[in-house]
């Protein structure tokens, strides 16, 4: 029988680590969010209660950042699931080909590129004047696009980059799910005269639902803290077209050094993330329990 002291001794370092790394910064941020602290004018800092939060929820730029983040997350995850499923299905069907492992490795390469490099790469590719994307469009007779430079398509361009990088992640998850589907189900449905799309709808998608939901939750959290590509490629612009919540918090905290206001934004983002992921987890549990 392990004594209570021994248990505490084992748990203690972990708890202390969490307290130092996680809890202290969180409570310190919470405290800072109730002040008007600016790092370059620290002596003027005052306790202002919930003023930062009141200002934040009425700040049009923060509202736009929340809307853009929601569009980014919904757009990216939907496209990643659709494209990821199609590609997973292709890889599943060609699993017997000898070079499939190489192809799969090639396909997941974007996921391994540092997001900052991804941002830089697409800044060059999508440069409206000098980039290759518009050259190719011109070659096939399509109209050129302003990409990151046009408020109409900038967020769409960011979603496109996000999808390019992270579709392989959902594809891998779905491929693993497809591999787990018993062959008998396909054979039985084929005998019943089911078409491929009926098999996909009635056999594969239900089988993939659980893994897909886990993958979607992970991607949702990723999208809520999506930063690097926007920082490198658009800085939230043009105008406020690609302003996302992490960029908003960064700008307040590390460009204007409004640590009070920036901390309030960070705390609010944390609670939004917690709320959304808790909802998703509950939904997942409900599915698990039938």
């Amino acid at each position: 029988m392990v004594s209570r002291t021994t248990k505490l001794l084992f748990i203690g370092p972990g708890v202390a680590y969490l307290a130092i790394i996680g809890l202290f910064p969180f409570f310190y941020s919470l405290y800072m969010s109730t002040t008007s602290l600016n790092l370059t004018r620290p002596r003027r800092s005052q306790f202002i209660g919930i003023d930062n939060y009141v200002q934040l929820v009425t700040d049009p730029l923060f509202q736009k950042a929340i809307l853009n983040t929601a569009i980014l997350a919904a757009g990216s995850i939907t496209l990643e699931i659709v494209i990821g499923f199609v590609i997973a299905k292709i890889f599943y069907e060609i699993a017997h080909i000898r070079t499939v492992n190489w192809l799969r490795t090639l396909f997941i390469l974007p996921m391994m590129v540092t997001p900052v490099i991804t941002g830089l790469m697409f800044t060059y590719i999508l440069n409206p004047t000098l980039g290759i994307a518009n050259v190719l469009l011109r070659m096939v007779g399509l109209p050129e696009s302003g990409w990151f430079g046009s408020a109409d398509v900038a967020l769409l361009s960011v979603i496109m980059v996000n999808v390019w990088q992270w579709t392989p992640f959902l594809m891998l998850i779905m491929l693993a799910g497809l591999m787990a589907v018993p062959r008998e189900l396909y054979e039985a449905s084929a005998l019943d005269g089911a078409h491929w799309y009926q098999q996909s709808w009635h056999i594969e998608l239900p089988a993939l639902r659980d893994v897909l939901l886990v993958g979607a939750i992970i991607r949702l959290i990723d999208n809520l803290r999506f930063f690097d590509v926007v920082y490198i490629a658009t800085r939230g612009g043009p105008g406020d077209a690609t302003e996302v919540i992490s960029m908003f918090a960064y700008r307040q905290s590390f460009q204007f050094f409004n640590m009070g206001y920036g901390s309030a934004a960070a705390v609010l983002i944390l609670f939004i993330t917690l709320f959304v992921t808790t909802l998703a987890m509950r939904y997942l549990r409900r599915i698990e329990h039938g």
Binding site: L39, P128, T129, G149, S150, R235, G237, P238, G239, F254
Partner: protein, 453 residues
């Protein structure tokens, strides 16, 4: 390979130093650096700065300081926003990692109020006047380096915004370089979609959201006859005494509308280009003219970096008819980190690097002329004919062209956001200006400035 090249360059400069260093005036050669500078054997001096074109000038000159003092000099250089971010974080964490902080003119008030940099007045007072030669700095740039009766940094990198145009194209079109904003519009229109100039666009402005377009507003507003704040204008006794924003003025509206109008004469995607990208449109021969800081001028003339190196003319920044123009002034000063443990060595470096004779070498290596002696120097004029435009420009510049108060970065970024929204038709010009009038007034009130309600 890189190290070998650097050593080779350093060796070449040191070998030719007496010849290159031939001073403009006899007294300069009288500086005995061996006695003027301390010995710092084994020490390392660390400098934090922006990654601008003149960094290589520093790297080529530093071996001389290293030989004179025994110290090793290292430079860490970053992009514009990152430099500001890193320097403020170094300052707020009271870090002694860097000894010299290179700061942009709008950050002067912020860095002083944050106590990130030393007051250099006592250092200057204990230095021989001929070494520092303060009066030889461009007069407006002397003011840029001062804040609340202190000297926050020593000037070394004065930037003057000038018009850069294609001499060959203007000659072919029979046009003169634009003196007024109307001339600028006419020329920009002429070169755009003109079969005589296929693939060419008139110009490219700094349109990207953030510092790029935010700073643009301050660069153009005076040249439309306006002012950003009630008491901020050339000749004002106290430029920050009344900080009532003037975004509801007709001139502010004219600046916004001018930028919108000029979009049609710029390359596709111009709505989001900044300093680097618009310079690239010019050096790759896609635009007929751009306004640009003088720090880029040597690069424009360098055949290894520019396809139009031998075809460039420069002229003074344009303004509307009937007013005295105020060409934008910017640039960098060198301050001492107030938490450095090697302040004496840092001062040795600053006084050496900014001295007349070393500054001249810096300019010859592509650095921005910041001293009157360098601007008038015949050798520099012969090698860099565009310095003549700088000589004319520096007579009309205004030190407060961009605000230098601690809130400066946030003001510029906020203006940049609304300006960009208006440019992209996300809001109307009137809506953007009304939003700015309110938000900048709030910011000024929060900062404790006088704002007339």
């Amino acid at each position: 390979m890189k190290r070998r090249t650097a050593l080779l360059m350093a060796g070449t400069i040191m070998a030719t130093w007496p010849m290159l260093g031939r001073p403009a005036r006899a007294q300069d050669s009288q500086i005995d650096w061996a006695s003027e500078l301390g010995k710092h054997d084994g020490a390392t001096l660390r400098i934090l700065m922006i990654q601008d074109p003149w960094v290589s000038g520093f790297e080529q000159l530093n071996p001389i300081f290293e030989q004179l003092t025994g110290a090793k000099v290292t430079i860490d250089a970053f992009g514009y926003d990152q430099t500001h971010e890193k320097e403020v974080l170094e300052g707020t964490s009271q870090s002694s990692q860097y000894d010299i902080i290179v700061l942009d003119s709008p950050w002067v008030g912020e860095f002083w109020s944050g106590e990130f940099v030393e007051d250099l007045k006592p250092y200057i007072e204990k230095t021989k006047p001929e070494v520092i030669a303060w009066d030889d700095f461009v007069p407006a740039f002397q003011t840029v380096a001062e804040w609340e009766d202190t000297i926050v940094g020593v000037p070394f990198g004065a930037y003057f915004m000038m018009m850069h145009y294609r001499k060959d194209l203007f000659e072919q079109a029979g046009l003169q370089p634009p003196k007024t904003i109307d001339d600028y519009k006419v020329a920009a229109k002429h070169f755009t979609n003109n079969p005589d100039f296929p693939g060419m666009y008139g110009t490219a402005l700094n349109n990207a959201r953030g510092s790029a377009i935010g700073q643009s507003f301050f660069e153009w507003i005076f040249n439309f006859g306006g002012k950003p704040f009630a008491s901020t204008y050339p000749g004002s006794e106290n430029p920050y005494s009344d900080m009532t924003p003037q975004f509801n003025s007709p001139e502010a509206k004219q600046v916004f509308e001018f930028f919108k109008e000029m979009l049609q004469y710029q390359p596709p995607g111009a709505e989001s280009i900044d300093w680097e990208q618009r310079a690239a449109t010019f050096t790759t021969g896609k635009t007929a003219m751009i306004t640009a800081w003088s720090v880029r001028t040597p690069g424009f003339h360098d055949p290894s970096k520019s396809q139009i190196a031998d075809k460039i003319g420069t002229s003074v920044f344009p303004h509307i008819e009937g007013i005295d123009g105020v060409p934008p002034l910017g640039g960098w000063v060198m301050g001492i980190n107030s938490h450095s443990n090697q302040k004496d060595m840092a001062w040795d470096y600053i006084k050496w690097f900014t001295s007349k004779e070393v500054h001249k070498q810096f300019v010859l290596l592509g650095g921005p002329p910041s001293r009157l002696s360098a601007i008038e120097d015949p050798e520099i004029r012969a090698k860099m004919p565009w310095v003549e435009t700088i000589a004319e420009t520096q007579k009309h510049v205004y030190a407060e062209c961009r605000p230098r108060i601690p809130e400066s970065f946030e003001i510029i970024d906020t203006v940049g956001l609304q300006f960009s929204r208006a440019l992209q038709n996300q809001v109307t010009v009137d809506e953007a200006l009304a939003e700015l009038q309110t938000s900048i007034a709030d910011l000024m009130v929060k900062g404790g400035y006088t704002v007339q309600q």
